[in-house]
């Protein structure tokens, strides 16, 4: 379950170390915006070393590489892929061509270092008007794409609109990215909430994104992990209903029926999928203990 994606500046050893204990679902080691040009080489070394030596447990590990227009791209990819990164976040994705280019480089690196082909996945960061227009093509440009993520700050700058806490200016872009993600069968990750001190604001923003259908949210602050996870925690009533749905559908399956009545309503496969997603979120939120599920974790 990937609800929270936390950016960690690639040039800060303490933050890279802290990533091992912070409760993020995915850590994104940043080589791009948070690292000044003079520190690019040092950050690359540091991130590569952290990936090799620190035990990050079950957290997903991704690295945001530099813009493919920049000269660092090959070094970035080679360093992080060989150090074991399973995902790279590609910034400023404006076209299928951008990702195709990255995929070709990944093919070569994986082949050269004897890494299973296709192991390294791609998170496409969409943060321009052109990127939004081309988002479905980008999502389907290579099977390496595992998620589409929205970068609201850069996008607003490109659109020429103010970035507000309410985020109404992003409604269309969020919806467009979400549709593309669903159509392409990849995850949709919402833009970060940028006020590190406003945890309630982050919670409300995440509830909204979850309501639209997003699977997770980018985060620029460890303080946002709690509100993000809280927003992705289903209510006890929703979990109880989901359990009933799963139970009812199992009964229907045994009886050879495709739909069944529950509390006077018809339950079918789409409802079952929603219920399964609710239970998955409940598990990720720690609402079930192994004992409750009747099986060891």
């Amino acid at each position: 379950m990937k609800r929270s994606y936390l950016f960690l500046p690639g040039n800060q050893p303490t933050m890279l170390q802290n990533g091992a204990v912070l409760p993020a679902d995915v850590l994104i080691f940043d080589l791009e915006d948070s690292v000044a040009p003079a520190e690019k080489d040092a950050a690359r070394e540091l991130v590569s070393s952290a990936l090799r030596s620190i035990d990050y447990g079950r957290r997903g590990l991704a690295v945001r590489i530099n813009d493919i227009e920049k000269p660092y791209i090959k070094k970035d990819l080679e360093a992080v892929v060989t150090a074991g990164a399973r995902s790279v976040m590609v910034p400023k994705v404006n076209s299928a061509r951008t990702l195709h280019h990255v995929a070709v480089m990944l093919d070569l690196i994986e082949e050269e270092y004897g890494i299973e082909k296709g192991r390294t996945k791609v998170i496409a960061l969409i943060e321009t008007a052109l990127g939004i227009e081309m988002v479905f093509e980008a999502a389907t440009s290579t099977p390496r794409v595992e998620a589409l993520a929205l970068g609201g700050e850069d996008l607003c700058a490109d659109l020429g609109c103010p970035r507000t806490k309410e985020g109404t200016e992003l409604f269309y872009s969020r919806s467009r990215l979400l549709l593309a993600a669903r159509a392409a069968g990849v995850d949709a990750v919402d833009t970060p909430f940028t006020d590190a001190r406003d945890e309630e604001g982050c919670y409300a923003d995440t509830v909204y994104a979850r309501g639209l259908g997003f699977d997770g949210k980018l985060s620029i602050s460890p303080h946002h992990l709690r509100p993000i996870h809280r927003a992705f925690t289903p209510t006890e009533e929703a979990v109880a209903f989901a359990l009933e749905v799963v139970d009812a559908m199992e009964r229907a399956k045994r009886e050879g029926r495709g739909a069944v009545s529950l509390r006077g309503k018809m339950i079918d496969l789409p409802v079952l999928r929603q219920a399964e997603r609710t239970l998955e979120l409940a598990r990720a939120s720690g609402m079930f203990t192994a004992e409750m599920e009747g099986a060891p974790e």
């Binding site: 170390q17 802290n18 204990v21 912070l22 409760p23 460890p222 303080h223 720690g286 203990t289």
Partner: protein, 471 residues
Amino acid sequence: MTRQTKIVPSLREAIRQSCLRDGMTISFHHHLREGDRVLQTVLTECSVLGLKDLTVNASALMGCHRSILDFVRDGTVSGIECNFMHAQVGQEISRGALEREVVFRSHGGRPAAMVRGESHIDVAFIAASAADAAGNCNGKQGNAAFGSIGYAMPDAEHAQYVVVVTDQLFEYPLLDASISEESVDAVVVIDSIGDPERIMSGTTRVTRDPIGLLIAEQAAKAISASGLLRDGFSFQTGAGGTSLAVAQYLGEIMREQGIVGRFASGGITGLLVDLLREGLFETLLDVQCFDREAVLSIGGDARHGEISATRYASPAAKSSVVDRLDVVILGATEIDTDFNVNVHTDSNGVIMGGSGGHSDTAAGAKLSIIVAPLMRARLPLIVDRVGTISTPGEDIDLLVTQYGLACNPRRSELSSRLERAGLPVVSIHDLKAKAESITGIPARVIHRGRPVARVVSRDGMLLDTIAMIED
């Protein structure tokens, strides 16, 4: 002698009248923390009067008290007893600035030593923000209000001669007297006892450090899992950012579960005042105010009570608050694999703190929790043997770090409860190994110089000595 007033025209005159002589002991409290001006003013007068070889017995020496070293150099002061010493003073003491050993006690051990006759105070100088002509005084009123005056109460009771030093005189009788006229010999009015804004020294706000918050959240969960968190719960936490965050998270759990605590005690901050006002605690027992919110609250809320150091923590008292504590949250500079804690010296063996109420609350509370990051910069928290034993390991029950929780092996039932609650319980040896895998094993600096200080337990026994450092 019957007198209409005890007001003495100057501090110098008050010192003369007290019959203070060379070699005697004078005492101070530290409620004005980094804003205190009384200690320096009194020592300046003593120096002008040519007094020599005085012992200063202060509840704490803060950074603003570093001028005491000037009075050590000119011979006015030759002895120091305290419960806490700021690094700015400690560094010089560690280098041998004082010939006699400093005596470190705890906040409860200090009044106990007075009762047992181990610590005799000739003249107590008590800073008060409000006083009347008979010496009734408190720290709750006046322009320089600092709140509770709890640490000075034993001084008033036991000193041979008591001088109240104030900068704001009230009409007799000052009704809400924390220290009563019956124990006061003289009252001196000076221009300023200090800057009350600077009582907010140190960290009195909830940390924003994500690792500190993570540790605090785990500690709050541990308290919840311990079985002690129920109606009537009692709690104490220090003023460190992580300790305060524990109170914040605990408040969330109490709110969610509808639990009302009986009291929170010790040094009080605005955060605890908020919990009181919200009804999550019924009372506050305050020996020291850490911020402006606490000062305002103790002056106006009957549920926020002032307690003396004796009532707070003295093992010589017939009973004390710390013995009724369910949970205390404490910090540590170092902790060893036997759970002994050091809060006196840094990794180089230099004095930078003291017990304060650490060892008192650890001894009294049913559950004593240390919250600390497993590494600070490149220094691991857990060592084979602490540089200085401030609180014996037998009084510490649980260590909470960002990499897991370690229970004292004496508390196996606690360990089982925490494990059942799904908390990551590991052995302290595993935590130590984890830290060393990241930082390496630092070489211990061993000083073989003469002792510059001795740490005395709350019961008056020698716990440890601190050696002089060589440059």
